[in-house]
C-alpha cells in the first residue's frame, strides 16, 4: 500500500462526459462478449430478414412462371375445337383432366379444370349461349391467379366471337359494347414494388428495437441482480452520467443491428434473385440512407425506453418482461395502419413508430420527404428520450 493521506495517486475529478464515456465503453465490451445473445440477434434479425425477402421473391417468381405457362385441364375438349385452338394460340397448354378431378382440386393438387358442356355444339348451333364450367377451390389462395387468368382468356374469346357475329350482321362493334373502360394506373413502377418491400420497413423497425433489448436489461436490472449496482453507485459519478453512458451503449447496439439488417436487405436486392416481373424492387443507396436517417432517432428512443423499463426492474427476467410491453406496442401500432383505409391522417406522422412507418413507406415509394416529416420523426423521439432518461436516473438506485 502506498503511504500518505489523501488522494495522492493522481485522482482527478471525473467529468460527467468522461464518466459517461467510461460507462459506454464498458457496456459495449460487456455486450459484445455476450456471444449467445449476439448470435441470436444476428440470426434472428440480420439473417432472417433477407431470407424472408428471398422466399417472397421466389413466391413472386413462381407465380409469374405459372401465369406464363398456363396449364389447363379441359374435360370434353373435342366439343369446342375453335375455343381450344384459341386457347392454344394464347399459349395455354391443354391437358386431359385427371380422374376424380374434383377431389384433386379440393386437395390442392389441381388448381382449375374447365368442362365443356355436352350440348355445347348443339347450343351454339341453335344460337344459344354455349355453357362452360370452371372448377376451382376459392379457399386456396394460390389458385386465385390461375383462375383469374383463365376467366380473362374465356372472356376475351367470348368477346371476339361476339364481335364476329355482329360484324356478320353488319352491326358496329360499339352497339354490343356500349362501354369502353381504359384502365390508367397512376403508380410509378417503383411504387408498385414498394408494396412488396414494405415488409422491409416492418423488419427494420423490429431490428431497431430488438437489437437493444438484451443489453438494456443486462446493463440495468442485470446490474442490480448481480450486486454490482451498489458498487457502481458508490463510485464518484452521478447517476445521470451512468444512465447516459448506458443509454448510449444500448442505442449504439440497436443502431448497429439496424445497420447490419439494412445492409442485408441492400445486398439481397442488389445481388439476390430479384424476380423479373417488370416491377423494380428499388432499395438502393437512397432508400438505404433514408431508412437509416429515419430509424436512428427511433433506435435511440427505444433504447431510452428500454433503459427506463430496466431501471424499474429488480431482476434481468423482470426487465425482459417489462420490455415485452414495448415490443407488443411496437408490433401493434403498424397493424392500426394496415386497417387504415384511404389516406392516412396527417397527425399520424407525429406518433412514433406509426410516423416512422409512414416515412419509410414514402422512401420506398420514391416520394420526397418534407421538412415537417423530419421534424416529426426527430422531435417526438427526442422528447421521449429526455423524459425516459430522467425517469431512469431517478429509479436507478440501490434498493434492499
Amino acid at each position: 500500500m502506498s503511504a500518505g493521506a489523501g488522494p495522492s495517486i493522481g485522482i482527478r475529478e471525473i467529468g460527467a462526459f468522461r464518466a459517461a464515456a467510461t460507462v459506454f465503453v464498458k457496456e459495449v465490451v460487456d455486450a459484445l462478449r455476450d456471444k449467445r445473445t449476439l448470435l441470436l440477434t444476428l440470426f434472428g434479425l440480420v439473417i432472417s430478414g433477407p431470407l424472408i425477402l428471398m422466399l417472397l421473391f421466389k413466391l413472386i417468381s413462381s407465380e409469374v412462371d405459372r401465369a406464363d405457362q398456363l396449364k389447363l385441364p379441359v374435360l370434353g375438349a373435342e366439343r369446342a375445337p375453335a375455343l381450344i385452338a384459341y386457347l392454344e394460340r394464347e399459349r395455354v397448354k391443354i391437358e386431359p383432366p385427371p380422374a376424380d378431378f374434383q377431389a384433386k382440386i379440393r386437395e390442392g393438387v389441381t388448381e382449375v379444370v374447365l368442362e365443356i358442356d355436352e350440348k355445347f355444339g348443339d347450343d351454339v348451333a341453335a344460337g344459344r349461349a354455349g355453357r362452360l364450367r370452371l372448377y376451382y377451390d376459392e379457399s386456396r389462395q394460390r389458385t386465385g391467379a390461375t383462375t383469374r387468368a383463365v376467366r380473362a382468356l374465356l372472356r376475351g374469346y367470348a368477346g371476339l366471337w361476339g364481335e364476329e357475329r355482329l360484324a356478320l350482321r353488319g352491326i358496329a362493334n360499339d352497339v354490343g359494347q356500349p362501354l369502353q373502360v381504359d384502365v390508367v394506373n397512376l403508380s410509378t413502377p417503383q411504387q408498385s414494388g414498394s408494396q412488396t418491400l414494405s415488409i422491409l420497413a416492418f423488419y427494420a423497425v423490429f431490428a431497431t428495437l430488438l437489437g437493444g433489448v438484451a443489453s438494456a436489461a443486462d446493463s440495468t436490472a442485470g446490474e442490480r441482480e448481480r450486486g454490482t449496482l451498489q458498487v457502481l453507485l458508490s463510485s464518484p459519478v452521478s447517476r445521470g452520467a451512468i444512465v447516459f453512458g448506458k443509454w448510449l451503449a444500448v442505442a449504439m447496439l440497436g443502431c448497429s443491428v439496424l445497420l447490419l439488417t439494412l445492409t442485408g436487405f441492400y445486398l439481397t436486392l442488389q445481388f439476390g434473385p430479384v424476380p423479373r416481373v417488370g416491377i423494380p424492387f428499388v432499395f438502393g443507396a437512397r432508400e438505404y440512407s433514408g431508412f437509416l436517417l429515419i430509424l436512428i432517432p427511433l433506435a435511440c428512443c427505444f433504447a431510452a425506453i428500454l433503459i427506463s423499463l430496466g431501471a424499474l426492474a429488480r431482476t434481468f427476467k423482470e426487465a425482459q418482461t417489462n420490455s415485452q410491453i414495448l415490443i407488443t406496442v411496437v408490433a401493434l401500432l403498424p397493424v392500426v395502419q394496415m386497417f387504415q383505409f384511404g389516406k392516412e391522417p396527417d397527425w399520424l406522422k407525429w406518433i412514433p413508430v406509426n410516423g416512422h412507418f409512414h416515412l419509410l413507406g414514402k422512401v420506398l415509394r420514391g416520394d420526397a420527404l418534407l421538412p415537417v416529416d423530419w421534424v416529426a420523426s426527430l422531435s417526438v423521439p427526442a422528447v421521449i428520450i429526455v423524459v425516459a432518461l430522467l425517469l431512469a436516473a431517478r429509479n436507478f438506485k440501490s434498493r434492499s
Binding site: 500500500m1 502506498s2 503511504a3 500518505g4 493521506a5 489523501g6 488522494p7 495522492s8 495517486i9 493522481g10 485522482i11 482527478r12 475529478e13 471525473i14 468522461r18 464518466a19 467510461t22 460507462v23 464498458k26 465490451v29 460487456d30 462478449r33 455476450d34 448481480r226 450486486g227 454490482t228 449496482l229 451498489q230 458498487v231 457502481l232 453507485l233 458508490s234 463510485s235 464518484p236 459519478v237 452521478s238 438506485k397 440501490s398 434492499s400
Partner: protein, 244 residues
C-alpha cells in the same frame, strides 16, 4: 476520518439505526461488531451515500454524506455486502473500470491493478473472466476494486466471508497494511475473532444502537468478563443477541 453523530434511519416501523454516534480515526482499524440485523449494513450504506439518513450527520474527511456525496465517494473505498462482479469482464477489467470511474489516469490504473493483484496473490487469475471464480477469488477481486484509487477511508463489510484460512490471513495483513499507511479502516463483522484480531477500537451495535465502544481491553474491563467473547455477550445483554 469518519464521524457519525445522532444518525437515525427507519424502514417503516423498524428503527434500523437509532441515534448512532462514533468516530473512526485515521491510522486505526475501527470494528463494527453486532449480530445480524443490528444495523451494520444500514450504517455502511449511509456512509457509502447509497441511502439517506432520516436525521443526524455522517461525514468522511469533513465531507458530508448528504450534502457532498460525490466528495465522500471519492474518499471511500468500499467493499459492501454486495460483492458482485461483471462476469464477462476479466478480473483486471473489473478493477480497471472502477479505477477509470474514479478518474485515475490509465497508467496509474495499470500500475495499481498490478500491484494489488500481486499483493492479493491474484496475478495468475487477473486476465481470466470472473465467471468461474471461486468465492475467495471473487472477494479478492472485489477488494482490489475497492482499493484501486488508494482511498483514504476504507469500508469493509464482512471482508473475510467465504475466504479460506490462508486467504483470511492475507486479508488481515492487508488490513493492517492499510492501517500502517495511515488509512481510516472501518471494518464490520459479526465474527468476534475477526474483529478482535485486528481492531484497535470496537463499536458494538445492537438493534440500531451503540451499546458499547472502546479498545478490546476496555470492553473486557467494562463487562468484567475474562474474554472478549464473553464481554460481547454480556454487553449485548443476552446470549440470544449473538444468534439472532
Amino acid at each position: 476520518m469518519i464521524e457519525v453523530a445522532g444518525l437515525t434511519r427507519r424502514f417503516g416501523p423498524v428503527v434500523a439505526l437509532d441515534n448512532v454516534k462514533f468516530r473512526a480515526a485515521d491510522g486505526a482499524i475501527t470494528g463494527i461488531l453486532g449480530p445480524n440485523g443490528a444495523g451494520k449494513t444500514t450504517l455502511m450504506r449511509i456512509l457509502a451515500t447509497l441511502i439517506l439518513p432520516d436525521s443526524g450527520t455522517a461525514s468522511v474527511d469533513e465531507y458530508d454524506c448528504v450534502a457532498d456525496s460525490l466528495g465522500v465517494r471519492q474518499r471511500f473505498g468500499i467493499l459492501s455486502d454486495a460483492k458482485g462482479l461483471y462476469p464477462r469482464l476479466t478480473a483486471r477489467e473489473n478493477v480497471a473500470y472502477f479505477g477509470a470511474l474514479h478518474g485515475l489516469p490509465r497508467r496509474t490504473v495499470r500500475e495499481r491493478t498490478g500491484m494489488l493483484f500481486d499483493r492479493l496473490d491474484m496475478t495468475a487469475l487477473a486476465d481470466r473472466r470472473t465467471d468461474g471464480f471461486s468465492q475467495g477469488e471473487k472477494m479478492k477481486t472485489a477488494i482490489a476494486r475497492a482499493l484501486i484509487h488508494d482511498p483514504q477511508n476504507v469500508l469493509l463489510d464482512e471482508p473475510t466471508n467465504g475466504l479460506d484460512v490462508i486467504a483470511t490471513r492475507a486479508m488481515r495483513e492487508l488490513i493492517l497494511d492499510l492501517k500502517n499507511a495511515g488509512k481510516c479502516v472501518l471494518f464490520s463483522s459479526h465474527i468476534m475473532q475477526e474483529v478482535s484480531a485486528v481492531c484497535d477500537r470496537i463499536i458494538i451495535l445492537n438493534r440500531g444502537k451503540v451499546v458499547a465502544s472502546g479498545t478490546p481491553s476496555q470492553l473486557i474491563a467494562m463487562s468484567g468478563r475474562p474474554s472478549l467473547e464473553d464481554a460481547f455477550v454480556t454487553l449485548l445483554g443476552s446470549a440470544e443477541g449473538l444468534e439472532r
